[in-house]
Symmetry: C2
Subunit: 162 residues, 2 copies
Protein backbone atom coordinates (compact mmCIF):
# COMPACT_ATOMS: atom_id res chain seq x y z
CA UNK A 1 0.00 0.00 0.00
CA UNK A 2 2.96 2.32 0.46
CA UNK A 3 2.97 3.18 -3.24
CA UNK A 4 -0.58 4.49 -3.13
CA UNK A 5 -0.53 8.21 -2.48
CA UNK A 6 -4.18 8.53 -1.57
CA UNK A 7 -4.99 10.44 1.60
CA UNK A 8 -6.43 7.33 3.25
CA UNK A 9 -3.15 5.45 3.37
CA UNK A 10 -2.34 4.44 6.93
CA UNK A 11 -0.32 1.25 6.59
CA UNK A 12 3.30 1.05 5.51
CA UNK A 13 5.61 -1.80 4.79
CA UNK A 14 9.15 -1.37 6.06
CA UNK A 15 12.12 -3.51 5.13
CA UNK A 16 15.12 -3.66 7.43
CA UNK A 17 18.10 -1.81 5.95
CA UNK A 18 20.41 -3.73 8.24
CA UNK A 19 20.78 -5.48 11.56
CA UNK A 20 22.60 -4.95 14.82
CA UNK A 21 25.44 -7.46 15.13
CA UNK A 22 27.10 -7.96 18.49
CA UNK A 23 26.53 -5.96 21.61
CA UNK A 24 24.19 -7.34 24.22
CA UNK A 25 22.49 -10.64 23.58
CA UNK A 26 19.65 -9.86 25.97
CA UNK A 27 17.83 -6.61 26.75
CA UNK A 28 18.89 -4.82 29.89
CA UNK A 29 17.49 -1.54 31.15
CA UNK A 30 20.65 0.36 31.95
CA UNK A 31 24.31 1.08 31.29
CA UNK A 32 24.27 1.26 27.51
CA UNK A 33 27.01 3.89 27.15
CA UNK A 34 29.94 1.50 26.77
CA UNK A 35 28.20 -1.20 24.75
CA UNK A 36 29.88 -1.67 21.39
CA UNK A 37 28.11 -3.15 18.38
CA UNK A 38 28.05 -3.10 14.60
CA UNK A 39 25.18 -1.92 12.44
CA UNK A 40 25.54 -4.19 9.41
CA UNK A 41 23.74 -2.75 6.40
CA UNK A 42 22.29 -5.21 3.90
CA UNK A 43 24.97 -5.95 1.29
CA UNK A 44 22.31 -7.40 -1.01
CA UNK A 45 20.74 -3.97 -1.40
CA UNK A 46 23.47 -1.46 -0.68
CA UNK A 47 27.05 -0.77 -1.64
CA UNK A 48 29.53 1.26 0.44
CA UNK A 49 28.36 4.26 -1.62
CA UNK A 50 25.32 4.33 0.67
CA UNK A 51 27.49 5.42 3.60
CA UNK A 52 29.98 7.62 1.72
CA UNK A 53 30.90 10.58 3.90
CA UNK A 54 29.21 9.19 6.99
CA UNK A 55 32.50 9.05 8.87
CA UNK A 56 32.56 12.85 8.96
CA UNK A 57 29.85 12.64 11.64
CA UNK A 58 30.53 11.70 15.26
CA UNK A 59 27.04 10.38 16.03
CA UNK A 60 24.23 8.51 14.33
CA UNK A 61 20.50 8.53 14.82
CA UNK A 62 19.18 5.00 14.46
CA UNK A 63 15.58 3.87 13.94
CA UNK A 64 15.05 0.24 14.79
CA UNK A 65 12.39 -2.31 15.71
CA UNK A 66 11.96 -3.75 19.20
CA UNK A 67 11.74 -7.17 17.57
CA UNK A 68 11.56 -9.11 20.82
CA UNK A 69 8.56 -7.19 22.11
CA UNK A 70 5.55 -9.50 22.24
CA UNK A 71 2.57 -8.13 20.30
CA UNK A 72 0.23 -9.30 23.07
CA UNK A 73 1.98 -6.94 25.47
CA UNK A 74 1.48 -3.82 23.36
CA UNK A 75 0.06 -1.02 25.47
CA UNK A 76 -2.27 1.52 23.89
CA UNK A 77 -3.25 3.26 27.13
CA UNK A 78 -1.33 4.13 30.29
CA UNK A 79 0.94 2.17 32.61
CA UNK A 80 3.72 2.74 35.09
CA UNK A 81 7.11 3.00 33.31
CA UNK A 82 9.08 -0.19 34.02
CA UNK A 83 6.18 -1.23 36.27
CA UNK A 84 7.46 1.16 38.93
CA UNK A 85 4.40 2.07 40.95
CA UNK A 86 6.37 4.82 42.71
CA UNK A 87 6.40 6.57 39.33
CA UNK A 88 3.19 7.93 37.85
CA UNK A 89 1.01 5.96 35.49
CA UNK A 90 1.54 7.66 32.12
CA UNK A 91 0.41 7.05 28.55
CA UNK A 92 2.41 4.86 26.20
CA UNK A 93 3.21 7.98 24.12
CA UNK A 94 4.51 9.70 27.28
CA UNK A 95 7.17 7.04 27.80
CA UNK A 96 9.71 5.26 25.61
CA UNK A 97 9.19 1.59 26.52
CA UNK A 98 9.22 -1.16 23.92
CA UNK A 99 5.59 -2.28 24.30
CA UNK A 100 4.27 0.50 22.10
CA UNK A 101 2.33 0.61 18.84
CA UNK A 102 4.68 -0.17 15.90
CA UNK A 103 7.48 -1.23 18.29
CA UNK A 104 9.77 1.53 17.03
CA UNK A 105 12.89 2.61 18.86
CA UNK A 106 15.05 5.60 18.03
CA UNK A 107 18.22 6.77 19.71
CA UNK A 108 21.62 8.34 19.21
CA UNK A 109 24.96 6.54 19.41
CA UNK A 110 28.58 7.31 18.74
CA UNK A 111 29.99 6.28 15.36
CA UNK A 112 33.47 4.84 15.87
CA UNK A 113 34.32 3.84 12.31
CA UNK A 114 32.88 2.71 9.02
CA UNK A 115 34.21 -0.46 7.40
CA UNK A 116 32.42 -1.14 4.13
CA UNK A 117 28.76 -1.45 5.16
CA UNK A 118 29.61 -2.12 8.80
CA UNK A 119 29.02 0.83 11.10
CA UNK A 120 30.93 0.32 14.34
CA UNK A 121 29.06 2.11 17.09
CA UNK A 122 29.12 2.65 20.83
CA UNK A 123 26.18 3.32 23.11
CA UNK A 124 23.41 1.97 20.88
CA UNK A 125 20.58 0.72 23.11
CA UNK A 126 19.58 -2.16 20.85
CA UNK A 127 20.47 -5.81 21.24
CA UNK A 128 22.18 -8.25 18.89
CA UNK A 129 19.86 -9.12 16.00
CA UNK A 130 17.79 -5.94 16.14
CA UNK A 131 16.43 -4.96 12.71
CA UNK A 132 17.51 -1.43 11.74
CA UNK A 133 15.10 0.53 9.55
CA UNK A 134 17.12 3.68 9.08
CA UNK A 135 20.40 5.35 9.93
CA UNK A 136 20.74 9.12 9.79
CA UNK A 137 23.68 11.36 10.60
CA UNK A 138 23.17 13.41 13.76
CA UNK A 139 23.35 17.13 13.15
CA UNK A 140 23.55 19.38 16.20
CA UNK A 141 20.80 21.66 14.88
CA UNK A 142 18.35 18.73 14.92
CA UNK A 143 18.35 18.67 18.71
CA UNK A 144 15.38 20.20 20.55
CA UNK A 145 15.23 23.98 20.23
CA UNK A 146 14.74 25.86 23.51
CA UNK A 147 14.83 24.72 27.10
CA UNK A 148 13.98 21.09 27.76
CA UNK A 149 11.59 20.24 30.58
CA UNK A 150 10.80 16.73 31.76
CA UNK A 151 9.15 15.25 34.84
CA UNK A 152 11.21 13.89 37.78
CA UNK A 153 10.33 10.26 37.05
CA UNK A 154 11.97 10.53 33.62
CA UNK A 155 15.16 11.97 35.09
CA UNK A 156 15.22 9.17 37.69
CA UNK A 157 14.66 6.53 35.01
CA UNK A 158 17.43 7.92 32.83
CA UNK A 159 19.98 8.28 35.65
CA UNK A 160 21.63 4.95 34.89
CA UNK A 161 20.54 4.44 31.30
CA UNK A 162 23.74 5.50 29.58
CA UNK B 1 5.30 -11.11 9.27
CA UNK B 2 5.83 -8.89 12.28
CA UNK B 3 4.44 -11.54 14.63
CA UNK B 4 6.99 -14.10 13.51
CA UNK B 5 9.96 -13.98 15.84
CA UNK B 6 12.32 -15.97 13.63
CA UNK B 7 15.74 -14.49 13.01
CA UNK B 8 15.04 -14.10 9.31
CA UNK B 9 12.32 -11.48 9.75
CA UNK B 10 13.16 -8.37 7.78
CA UNK B 11 9.79 -6.88 6.84
CA UNK B 12 7.49 -5.02 9.20
CA UNK B 13 4.03 -3.62 8.82
CA UNK B 14 3.47 -0.23 10.44
CA UNK B 15 0.14 1.43 11.02
CA UNK B 16 -0.04 5.19 11.45
CA UNK B 17 -0.83 6.14 15.05
CA UNK B 18 -1.96 9.55 13.89
CA UNK B 19 -1.59 12.26 11.31
CA UNK B 20 -0.23 15.78 11.10
CA UNK B 21 -3.08 18.25 10.75
CA UNK B 22 -2.35 21.80 9.74
CA UNK B 23 1.02 23.41 9.31
CA UNK B 24 2.49 23.64 5.84
CA UNK B 25 0.51 22.26 2.92
CA UNK B 26 3.62 21.79 0.79
CA UNK B 27 7.17 20.75 1.67
CA UNK B 28 9.67 23.54 2.01
CA UNK B 29 13.33 23.12 2.91
CA UNK B 30 13.75 25.77 5.57
CA UNK B 31 12.29 27.88 8.38
CA UNK B 32 10.39 25.21 10.27
CA UNK B 33 10.89 26.69 13.75
CA UNK B 34 7.70 28.72 13.88
CA UNK B 35 5.42 26.33 12.03
CA UNK B 36 2.53 25.24 14.20
CA UNK B 37 0.58 22.03 13.64
CA UNK B 38 -1.40 19.36 15.45
CA UNK B 39 -0.47 15.71 15.73
CA UNK B 40 -3.89 14.06 15.79
CA UNK B 41 -3.71 10.57 17.23
CA UNK B 42 -6.19 8.00 15.94
CA UNK B 43 -9.30 8.18 18.13
CA UNK B 44 -10.45 4.83 16.78
CA UNK B 45 -7.51 3.12 18.48
CA UNK B 46 -6.52 5.36 21.36
CA UNK B 47 -8.10 7.19 24.24
CA UNK B 48 -6.61 10.23 26.00
CA UNK B 49 -5.07 7.71 28.42
CA UNK B 50 -2.43 7.11 25.72
CA UNK B 51 -1.03 10.59 26.27
CA UNK B 52 -1.55 10.88 30.04
CA UNK B 53 1.34 12.81 31.55
CA UNK B 54 2.77 13.85 28.21
CA UNK B 55 2.25 17.52 29.00
CA UNK B 56 5.02 17.31 31.61
CA UNK B 57 7.49 17.22 28.72
CA UNK B 58 8.49 20.31 26.73
CA UNK B 59 9.48 18.45 23.55
CA UNK B 60 8.45 15.42 21.54
CA UNK B 61 10.36 13.10 19.30
CA UNK B 62 8.20 12.20 16.31
CA UNK B 63 8.70 9.37 13.81
CA UNK B 64 6.79 9.89 10.61
CA UNK B 65 6.61 8.86 6.95
CA UNK B 66 7.68 11.09 4.06
CA UNK B 67 4.44 10.09 2.35
CA UNK B 68 4.88 12.37 -0.64
CA UNK B 69 8.28 10.95 -1.54
CA UNK B 70 8.01 9.09 -4.84
CA UNK B 71 9.24 5.49 -4.58
CA UNK B 72 10.93 5.83 -7.99
CA UNK B 73 13.16 8.55 -6.54
CA UNK B 74 14.47 6.46 -3.66
CA UNK B 75 18.24 6.65 -3.48
CA UNK B 76 20.25 3.68 -2.24
CA UNK B 77 23.66 5.05 -3.11
CA UNK B 78 25.17 8.53 -2.96
CA UNK B 79 24.04 11.94 -4.18
CA UNK B 80 24.58 15.61 -3.48
CA UNK B 81 22.33 16.78 -0.60
CA UNK B 82 19.57 18.96 -2.07
CA UNK B 83 21.28 18.54 -5.44
CA UNK B 84 23.90 21.07 -4.36
CA UNK B 85 27.00 20.21 -6.36
CA UNK B 86 29.05 22.59 -4.21
CA UNK B 87 28.45 20.12 -1.36
CA UNK B 88 30.03 16.67 -1.46
CA UNK B 89 28.29 13.65 -2.90
CA UNK B 90 27.44 11.55 0.18
CA UNK B 91 25.55 8.33 0.84
CA UNK B 92 21.84 8.33 1.53
CA UNK B 93 22.59 7.20 5.10
CA UNK B 94 24.97 10.15 5.50
CA UNK B 95 22.18 12.66 4.84
CA UNK B 96 18.60 13.12 6.03
CA UNK B 97 16.69 13.70 2.78
CA UNK B 98 13.28 12.16 2.13
CA UNK B 99 14.27 9.92 -0.81
CA UNK B 100 15.66 7.21 1.45
CA UNK B 101 14.82 3.55 2.04
CA UNK B 102 11.66 3.26 4.18
CA UNK B 103 10.94 7.02 3.82
CA UNK B 104 11.24 7.55 7.56
CA UNK B 105 11.62 10.96 9.14
CA UNK B 106 12.39 11.68 12.78
CA UNK B 107 12.75 15.01 14.52
CA UNK B 108 12.13 16.96 17.68
CA UNK B 109 9.47 19.63 18.15
CA UNK B 110 8.09 21.70 20.98
CA UNK B 111 4.90 20.47 22.64
CA UNK B 112 2.63 23.43 23.29
CA UNK B 113 -0.40 21.66 24.75
CA UNK B 114 -2.38 18.46 24.76
CA UNK B 115 -6.10 18.57 24.05
CA UNK B 116 -7.58 15.08 24.16
CA UNK B 117 -5.66 13.20 21.47
CA UNK B 118 -4.53 16.38 19.74
CA UNK B 119 -0.91 17.29 20.36
CA UNK B 120 -0.35 20.94 19.50
CA UNK B 121 3.25 21.37 18.43
CA UNK B 122 5.64 23.94 17.05
CA UNK B 123 8.64 23.36 14.82
CA UNK B 124 7.67 19.96 13.45
CA UNK B 125 9.24 19.57 9.98
CA UNK B 126 6.38 17.54 8.52
CA UNK B 127 3.58 18.77 6.29
CA UNK B 128 -0.18 18.58 6.65
CA UNK B 129 -1.36 15.01 6.16
CA UNK B 130 1.90 13.33 7.17
CA UNK B 131 1.33 9.90 8.76
CA UNK B 132 2.84 9.68 12.24
CA UNK B 133 4.13 6.27 13.31
CA UNK B 134 5.23 7.12 16.83
CA UNK B 135 5.46 9.91 19.37
CA UNK B 136 7.94 9.74 22.22
CA UNK B 137 8.71 12.21 24.99
CA UNK B 138 12.11 13.84 24.62
CA UNK B 139 14.37 13.23 27.59
CA UNK B 140 17.56 15.28 27.81
CA UNK B 141 19.66 12.21 28.51
CA UNK B 142 18.67 10.74 25.13
CA UNK B 143 20.68 13.37 23.29
CA UNK B 144 24.08 12.37 21.87
CA UNK B 145 26.70 11.74 24.55
CA UNK B 146 30.02 13.48 24.04
CA UNK B 147 31.12 16.12 21.57
CA UNK B 148 29.26 16.28 18.30
CA UNK B 149 31.23 16.58 15.08
CA UNK B 150 29.69 17.16 11.65
CA UNK B 151 31.03 18.24 8.26
CA UNK B 152 30.76 21.85 7.05
CA UNK B 153 28.13 21.05 4.39
CA UNK B 154 25.75 19.83 7.12
CA UNK B 155 26.20 22.99 9.14
CA UNK B 156 25.57 25.08 6.02
CA UNK B 157 22.47 23.08 5.14
CA UNK B 158 21.05 23.42 8.65
CA UNK B 159 21.74 27.16 8.96
CA UNK B 160 18.22 28.10 7.88
CA UNK B 161 16.37 24.88 8.64
CA UNK B 162 14.79 25.89 11.92
Amino acid sequence: MRHDHSVTITEFSMVAAGIVAGGRAEPDDDDWADVGAVIRLDAARFSPDAVAGLDAFSHLEVIYVFHRAAPADTTTGARHPRGRTDWPRVGIFAQRGKDRPNHLGVSRCRLLRVVGLDLHVEGLDAIDGTPVLDVKPWMAEFGPRGDVRQPPWATELMAGYY
